[in-house]
């Protein structure tokens, strides 16, 4: 694996605390969902982000509320990193009326335009064109905001993604493609399905600067994202971050993962956990105190517990919601 060799400016202690809070919130939220799903309390399917936390957080900490992101079916981490309310998300995953999408989207379509989160997406590869459009809109409005498309290694092979790389290049759009290569598109190894040497090499072929990053290293992500976001904001056009990450869970909860090597996940958890690596780094370099982190742990646990309790107790949507919001307006409605 090639790691970004860029010299990072070490983030401030406040930023590091926020990074830890977000990564820990994602991990705790996902572990909570894993248990709830196993207990058959969540309808449908959930695709968990556990293990990939440093990637979403490393990127989103460089974004403002006005910057947009698009996400994937494995989108909870991106949502939390972009600042979505955990309670509204939890209720959404449970399909409740109090969900951020009123229970109409669920885990795979959770979105919140107020925080610039244009949506998790059930269609692999649907996000990059949407991110290009958001970036185009920013330019039309004369804003210096950027758009980020988080995609997986699976989506990296979709025509819509490759077309978007080209469009972003042709229009010089302020968009950042973050490929989270977790090694598997559902069951199929990325080493099998990606014909090119790497997505970074592909991007360079499109004329787009690319950075290969260890997505499990928050500091490497932080540094690569800083460079990409700065380039986009300054009018320098798109960048692709080719991030190697580890997916701890199956494609979805309940996936027996028979296609993985024995002990693969356990080894990754033991040796390469992004949160543990972060803690080791910030404590050995005395950037943060252990007690500061423990305080965040307690806070996060209580936030997620509260969100779960509220979601469980929340009412289902009303039957009249079935036909609500199909259209903004139809004939006869007041405009």
């Amino acid at each position: 694996m090639t790691t970004s060799s860029r010299q990072a400016t070490t983030p401030s202690p406040e930023t590091l605390l926020e990074a830890y809070r977000l990564m820990k919130t994602i991990r705790t939220f996902e572990e909570c969902l894993s248990a709830e799903f196993a207990a058959e309390r969540i309808p449908g399917a959930v695709h968990l982000y556990t293990g990939q936390e440093a990637c979403a957080v490393g990127v989103c900490l460089h974004l403002s509320e006005d910057d947009c992101i698009v996400s994937t079916h494995r989108g909870h981490g991106h949502c939390i990193a972009k600042g979505m309310d955990v309670g509204g998300m939890m209720a959404e995953v449970f399909g409740r009326a109090s969900g951020v999408c009123r229970g109409k989207g669920g885990s795979m379509h959770v979105a919140d335009l107020d925080t610039g989160m244009l949506g998790a997406n059930g269609i692999v590869g649907a996000g990059p064109p949407i991110a290009c459009g958001a970036a185009l809109a920013a330019r039309c409005k004369g804003h210096s905001t950027v758009a980020v498309a988080f995609i997986g290694d699976g989506a990296s092979n979709q025509g819509s993604t490759l077309e978007s790389l080209n469009l972003a290049c042709v229009w010089d759009l302020p968009v950042i493609f973050v490929v989270e290569d977790n090694g598997y598109a559902e069951t199929t190894a990325s080493s099998y399905a990606i014909g090119a040497e790497s997505n970074a090499a592909r991007a360079r072929g499109f004329g787009i600067p690319a950075i290969e990053v260890d997505g499990g290293d928050f500091f490497a992500m932080d540094s690569a994202a800083a460079e990409a976001v700065a380039r986009a904001r300054a009018g320098g056009g798109p960048t692709l971050l080719d991030c190697k990450v580890t997916r701890y869970r199956g494609h979805f909860e309940g996936d027996a993962q028979t296609y993985r090597a024995e002990g693969e996940v356990e080894q990754a958890r033991r040796e390469n956990d992004c949160i543990r690596a972060f803690v080791r780094r910030v404590t050995t370099t005395e950037l943060l105190e252990r007690e500061q982190l423990a305080a965040i742990d307690r806070r996060v646990a209580s936030v997620v517990e509260d969100a779960l309790a509220a979601a469980r107790a929340a009412p289902d949507p009303d039957p009249t919601d079935l036909m609500r919001d199909v259209y903004v307006s139809t004939l006869g409605d007041p405009k």
């Binding site: 951020v100 997406n121 269609i123 649907a126 039309c140 409005k141 903004v328």
Partner: protein
Amino acid sequence: MTRRLTFRDAVNEALRQEMERDPSVILLGEDIAGGAGAPGARDAWGGIFGVTKGLQPLFPGRVLDTPITESAFVGAAVGAALAGQRPVVELMFNDFMGVCFDPIVNQAAKMRYMLGGRAGVPLVIRTAFGAGFRSAAQHSQSLYALLTHVPGLKCVVPSNATDAKGLLIEAIRDDDPVVFFEHRKLYDLDAEVTEEPYTVPLGRARVVRRGGDLTVVTLGAMVAVALAAATTLAAEGIECEVIDLRTTSPLDEGRILESVHATGRLVVVDEAPPRCGIASDISAIVAERAFASLRAPIARVTAPHCPVPFSPVLEDLYLPNEDDVANAARDVVLIR
């Protein structure tokens, strides 16, 4: 002020006036200016049918030629709409929706519902359709039924320049995704068009001819075919009420049912194939909701269930014509 304007110029005027009124309106599409990056003239084409000609010089930065990548630029239009613009995309031929079905059907159409009403996708996709140009199977289809099937989309199929301007302005101002189908046969046909901007509501059909013997429901270029048949039939003493749907989604069910209640007979004319099409849909609605008023079986006059052929002889056979409509009407009226 009203003057004669072609369908093409009426659409152009609607685009220009909305772009003047609302700076968030942007145009995207293949060759919609034409000649991007090329050594020759700017604004070389104005789209393959010249509809957007002259707009790029008026609105610099807001009329964007795209690479031939419908999946990316239709998807980008969805993203731009979510982020506050009002994009009007030109999809050169409606047949090309095959390569951008996802952004239309799974993204634009679903976004508002999936987000619990917390977003809108104010997007217009203008697209040319229709047979009769010896363009064969991949450039001649009439695919509005496919998109009418999808909740969350609105579908507009104007039959004349007057309606086209008002319907397009309405579509651009509408906060939902609208697909605007422009029949190639209509581009050069003119009609009275008011210069000032005006709107025609989506979901209101127009009775283009009054008559008491049977109802003929149709749309797009088939309106003229139905009207020609109605003139012939009138000479035989058969009076058709011809209804131009204008939009297939929303559908003006009330206007159709009202007419069928009065006439008791229905012929639906559509140049698309019959299976799961507009003609079938309207037949089902009338059979369900106006059965007691019907005095004869409903007749559908459509293209056959085959692709559009290239051979001029075969294509002429493919398209419903005035005789097909007149014969269907005579059959329906004969049943007592």
